[in-house]
Symmetry: C2
Subunit: 173 residues, 2 copies
C-alpha cells in the first residue's frame, strides 16, 4: 500500500479524529495512546505505524484544527461584502466553536505546551489567522485595521474561554 492509496489515509485521519476527541476531553499529557486507539477502534501499537510518537500525533491534530479555522476564514473573505465582513468572520468562528469545540480545546491546551515543534505550529497558526483577518479588514477599507484585528482576535480568545468554562456572562455586552 502506497501513500496514494486511500485506505491508509483514511486510517490516519480516523486516528487523528480520535486523538482530537480524547486529547481534548482528557488532556494531552494525561490521555493515553491506548485510549486514542480504543476510540479509533484499533490496537494501541498500530498508532505507531502512522505516527512516530504521541507528540507527532498531537502535531497532526493541531494542523487539522488550524486548517479548519484558516479555510473557514478564507472562504468568508472570498464571499463576504465589506460591510458585513467582521460579523461574517464572527459567525464563521462561532460555527467552528459549535461544531468543532474539541479542536479549539486542543489549541487552548497547546498554547501552554513548551515543546518546540508544538510552539512553532501554534505560532504559525496564529500568525496565519492574523494575516488573513488583517488583509481582509484592509481590503474592506476598515480603518485602524491593525487595532480592529487585535480586538477581533482578543474577543475570539475570550470566547474560547467563555465556551470551555461554560461562562456565557464573560461575553455579555
Amino acid at each position: 500500500m502506497g501513500k496514494s492509496d486511500t485506505t491508509s489515509v483514511n486510517r490516519k485521519a480516523e486516528i487523528i479524529s480520535a486523538a482530537i476527541e480524547v486529547f481534548a476531553e482528557i488532556g494531552y499529557y494525561r490521555a493515553t495512546t491506548a485510549q486514542v486507539a480504543q476510540r479509533a477502534k484499533i490496537s494501541q501499537p498500530y498508532i505507531f505505524r502512522f505516527f512516530s510518537s504521541k507528540e507527532a500525533l498531537l502535531l497532526a491534530a493541531l494542523e487539522v484544527s488550524w486548517t479548519r479555522v484558516i479555510d473557514s476564514f478564507r472562504k468568508v473573505m472570498e464571499s463576504s461584502l465589506s460591510e458585513q465582513l467582521e460579523s461574517d468572520l464572527i459567525r464563521a468562528y462561532d460555527e467552528i466553536l459549535d461544531s468543532y469545540q474539541n479542536e479549539i480545546l486542543l489549541q487552548m491546551q497547546a498554547q501552554t505546551i513548551q515543546e518546540n515543534s508544538i510552539r512553532e505550529e501554534m505560532r504559525k497558526g496564529f500568525e496565519e489567522v492574523r494575516r488573513i483577518v488583517l488583509d481582509a479588514f484592509r481590503d474592506a477599507g476598515i480603518p485602524n485595521s491593525k487595532e480592529r484585528t487585535m480586538l477581533f482576535l482578543a474577543r475570539g480568545m475570550l470566547c474560547n474561554i467563555s465556551t470551555v468554562l461554560d461562562m456565557p456572562e464573560l461575553m455579555e455586552k
Copy 2:
C-alpha cells in the same frame, strides 16, 4: 507545631511557589511531585504532609495566582482616578505578566483541565475579576461598562497568549 506557627506556613508557601514554577515550565500533568520537591529543596514525600494530593497542590497554586490578580486590581480601584482607571488596570496586569508569568501560564493550563474542583476555582477567579472590573468601570462612570469590561478581559486573554508564545505582533495596534 500547630497551624499558628509560621514555620509550616512558610514551608507550605515555599512548596506552592516551587509548584507554580515547575507546573508552569513543564505542564501540570507531565510535571512530577519529585521535581516540585527538588525545586523546594525538600524530599518528595514531604509534599504530602502539606497537600493531600498533587491536585490539591495545583488548587492551592491557582488560588495564589488568582489572589495576585484580584488584590492588584482592588488596589488600583481604590487609588485610581476615573479618567485613568482602565489604563491603570492595564498597567497593573502588565506588571503581573512581567513579574509572575508562571502564575498566568498556570491559569492558562487550568483553563482546559476538566477536573471539577479545578474548573470551579477557575470560574470563581474569572467571575471575581469580572465583577471587580465591571464595578470599577461603573463607579468611574464609564459608558457601556459591560462591553468595556468584556473587551478589557478579551485583550487580557490575548495578551497572555502573545506573551507565552512570544508573539508581540498579536497585540500591535
